[in-house]
């Protein structure tokens, strides 16, 4: 399995420094009080460093990173619980570059130049607020939203400014400080970036990369969460011994270890499939497997901590809430299972 190495290690270290790892968890906790957190200071620096071009080809001035590099970077940042939607932004920028149309190029230039933050809507997952609505995650960060409408030849990939969409500021607050927004987007809105089968492929690639990014974030955060839980039961003493010496906990910890290792193997295997026939199935499988694993780990992490695990003061609370939000975002279990059955 690919360990993070070389350039990605460098970027990861720098990004961790930029986002200030030591402040990361207090910031995630504070998001509850000052919501939504849309302080762009750090994100602007991220963009100024040119890191938004991570996935763009080197010939176009990008960094030419592979999907494996992408996954390694996002996974390595998972434990920071960043409010900034770094993974989805990178995936959307990559989508813009793939369109190769004047409209997309203009938007790409604006995005790389820090004027506009562009995010892509997920496919219209079962919205509770209208059958044909699109769901936009982390809309509070976005200036522009990319979305898709229509089928086959009518398929249209479009971009619309946030201010031109009614309701894009009507955020539904998520438990981790993030948001979702359900809006009606149609072919009369914004401008077209690409159309037809090619546009559909580009949009599906973006969707798959969003799923990979969510899976990578989840597995990054559960690695930390599981380690914290194991460290805790080694320290916590009851009946005169560390509670971690009890087989009831050891076997459950081992089960979680197996789940984490195997979900991670699947994540990197899925990253290898990007650009090949099995991409959609692999990314869907990786997302749902990572989500199932993450939820198992954070639930058990709370349980391993006992009462303090149920307090907001314990970091596990932060991991728990992010895991719930990311499980629901960018490919629900239902949508991913459908992809896996169909493929």
């Amino acid at each position: 399995m690919s360990e993070i190495a070389g350039d990605q290690m460098l970027i990861s270290d720098n990004v961790r420094r930029l986002f200030d790892a030591s402040r990361a968890l207090p910031r995630a906790r504070a998001a509850a009080a000052c919501w939504p957190d849309t302080d762009r200071t750090v994100l602007r620096e991220f963009i100024e460093m040119g890191w938004l071009s991570l996935l763009l080809p080197e010939d176009d001035g990008g960094m030419g990173a592979s999907a494996i590099d992408f996954v390694a970077l996002i996974e390595s940042l998972g434990d920071l619980l960043l409010p900034e939607p770094v993974g989805p932004m990178l995936a959307t920028v990559s989508l813009l570059a793939a369109c190769q149309s004047p409209a997309a190029d203009r938007l790409l230039k604006a995005a790389l130049g820090d004027e506009r933050i562009v995010l892509a809507a997920t496919e219209a997952d079962r919205s509770l607020q209208g059958d044909t609505n699109h769901i936009v995650f982390d809309a509070h960060w976005a200036d522009v939203v990319v979305f898709a409408t229509g089928e086959t030849e009518q398929f249209s990939l479009r971009a619309v400014a946030k201010i031109d969409v009614d309701g894009l500021d009507a955020l539904v607050r998520n438990i981790d400080g993030g948001s979702l927004c359900s809006v009606r987007l149609d072919g009369s809105m914004g401008e077209e970036l690409a159309s037809g089968a090619r546009a559909r492929d580009i949009f599906m690639r973006c969707r798959n990369m969003q799923r990979l990014a969510a899976a990578a974030s989840l597995l990054g955060l559960v690695r930390k969460s599981l380690q914290d839980a194991i460290d805790y039961v080694k320290l916590r003493r009851q009946f005169g011994v560390a509670v971690g010496s009890f087989q009831a906990l050891q076997h459950r910890a081992a089960t979680l270890h197996v789940a984490c290792q195997s979900a991670r193997a699947l994540l990197y295997e899925a990253a290898r499939t990007v650009g090949t026939a099995n991409e959609a199935v692999a990314c869907a499988a990786a997302k749902v497997k990572a989500a199932d694993t993450a939820m198992a780990v954070v639930k058990e992490s709370v349980q391993f901590h006992g009462a303090i695990g149920f307090s907001d003061e314990a970091d596990v609370a932060l991991f728990f809430r992010r895991a719930v939000a990311l499980t629901a975002a960018y490919g629900t279990a239902e949508a991913c299972h459908r992809t896996c059955f169909a493929g």
Binding site: G244, Q247, Q250, S262, A265, E269, A270, H337
Partner: protein, 383 residues
């Protein structure tokens, strides 16, 4: 397998598929039980002549030295055509251990016989009083001149009643800590004093047996490694065995059953059936990805967390067969394979057999103990 294959890998897959279709007799396809030696060994020898019997063995020992991807291709194609299960103790367990610990004479004699199918092997580890606590075994051997004389009782011996040879753990010194007085010995099952009694299993078959050893004389030259140093050999063997147990062969066979069931049910599949199938597929692909990752890591010199693989592969197979049970609906308990719209469907046999997977090769509870202690560094538990 999700990974896209290179031109060479695709060509290999085509070659394997074509050869299987030509060479595998119809009466050996889609069997749920491992066929008896008379039936299965001709197929074993055919695979051997083709050079595909030992994909994971090094070329120097007559193996294929296949890449992990090629190994998965072979397993996928075997599952697809419904190839029978062949005896694997020689190929997967004692073969690799002799390659590592065997004397030149042992290697020269035994390895070719494993490869060409002249010798079927069984494992003489478990005893009535020594299962998970293997080191407490009591089968005893005493050195008398050039022989070791072995007396004891082995049990749950897979294919012991069909085996030509047994590799066994025998206590050769009672006066030292229990792991320091065990020897690893190769026993010819035709020796006088060997008595075998097959045991009927939960799946109503005779997969295993018990073996009584009554003053069986074994040449000292049949000790692998040194006298009383057998525990080292055995635990090395266990690691190797678990890497192999991590292979997705069984899970692929199980998934093929589920796929056939889905095909036969066609439009009668419910939404909840489809969900079960999608979940089974995700588990299967997770296992394949993990096997490829571990096997490629092993090849590159990365240590293998074999307990994790053993748990993953066995529980994945069980998960897939549990899903097949759910999809089978009212037919889940049907004893023999049935024809459903032209497809032969096995409802219960593989499922019943799969219960043994989490018990043999070191139970999954033992594997979890090992992970907790060795990987997660959790404190040694209270007994």
């Amino acid at each position: 397998m999700l990974r896209s294959e290179s031109e060479a890998e695709l060509a290999f897959r085509r070659e394997v598929r074509g050869w299987f279709e030509r060479e595998l007799p119809a009466e050996l396809r889609d069997l749920t039980f491992r066929p008896l030696p008379d039936m299965v060994m001709p197929w074993y020898r055919k695979l051997s002549r083709q050079g595909w019997i030992a994909p994971h063995w090094p070329r120097a020992f007559g193996g294929m030295d296949a890449s992990p991807v090629e190994q998965v291709i072979l397993m996928e194609e075997a599952a697809r055509i419904g190839a029978p299960e062949i005896p694997t103790q020689g190929l997967n367990q004692i073969g690799p251990i002799l390659q590592r610990f065997g004397s030149d004479a042992q290697k020269e004699f035994h390895l070719p016989r494993i490869l060409n199918g002249d010798a079927i092997w069984c494992q003489g580890y478990s005893e009535p009083g020594a299962g998970s606590d293997l080191a407490s075994l009591r089968t005893a051997g005493s050195v008398e001149g050039d022989d070791v004389v072995v007396t004891g009782h082995k049990i749950w011996t897979t294919w012991g009643h069909h085996a030509d040879w047994m590799y066994a753990l025998v206590r050769t010194n009672k006066d030292v800590p229990k792991r320091e007085g065990i020897s690893f010995i190769l026993i010819d099952m035709k020796s006088s004093g060997v008595l075998r009694r097959p045991i009927r299993t939960l799946a109503d078959e005779f997969e295993f047996c018990e073996v009584f050893l009554d003053k069986v004389r074994v040449p000292r030259a049949n000790i692998v490694g040194e006298l009383n140093r057998g525990w080292t050999v055995a635990t090395a063997l266990l690691s190797q065995e678990r890497l192999i147990l991590g292979s997705p062969g069984n899970a692929l066979r199980a998934y093929e059953r589920l796929r056939r069931l889905a095909r036969a049910l066609g439009t009668r599949l419910s939404d909840s059936d489809k969900l079960m199938i999608a979940k089974a597929r995700i588990e299967l692909e997770t296992l394949i990805a993990s096997f490829l990752d571990a096997a490629e890591g092993f090849r590159d010199g990365r240590p293998v967390d074999s307990s994790y693989l053993k748990i993953l592969s066995t529980e994945t197979t069980q998960f897939i067969l549990d899903a097949a049970q759910t999809v089978s609906g009212a037919y889940a308990g049907v004893k023999f394979p049935m024809d459903v719209d032209g497809t032969t469907i096995d409802f219960s046999e593989l499922f019943l057999q799969s219960r043994r997977l989490s018990i043999y090769g070191g139970s999954n509870e033992i594997q979890r103990d090992l992970i907790a202690r060795n990987v997660l560094a959790m404190p040694r538990g209270r007994a």
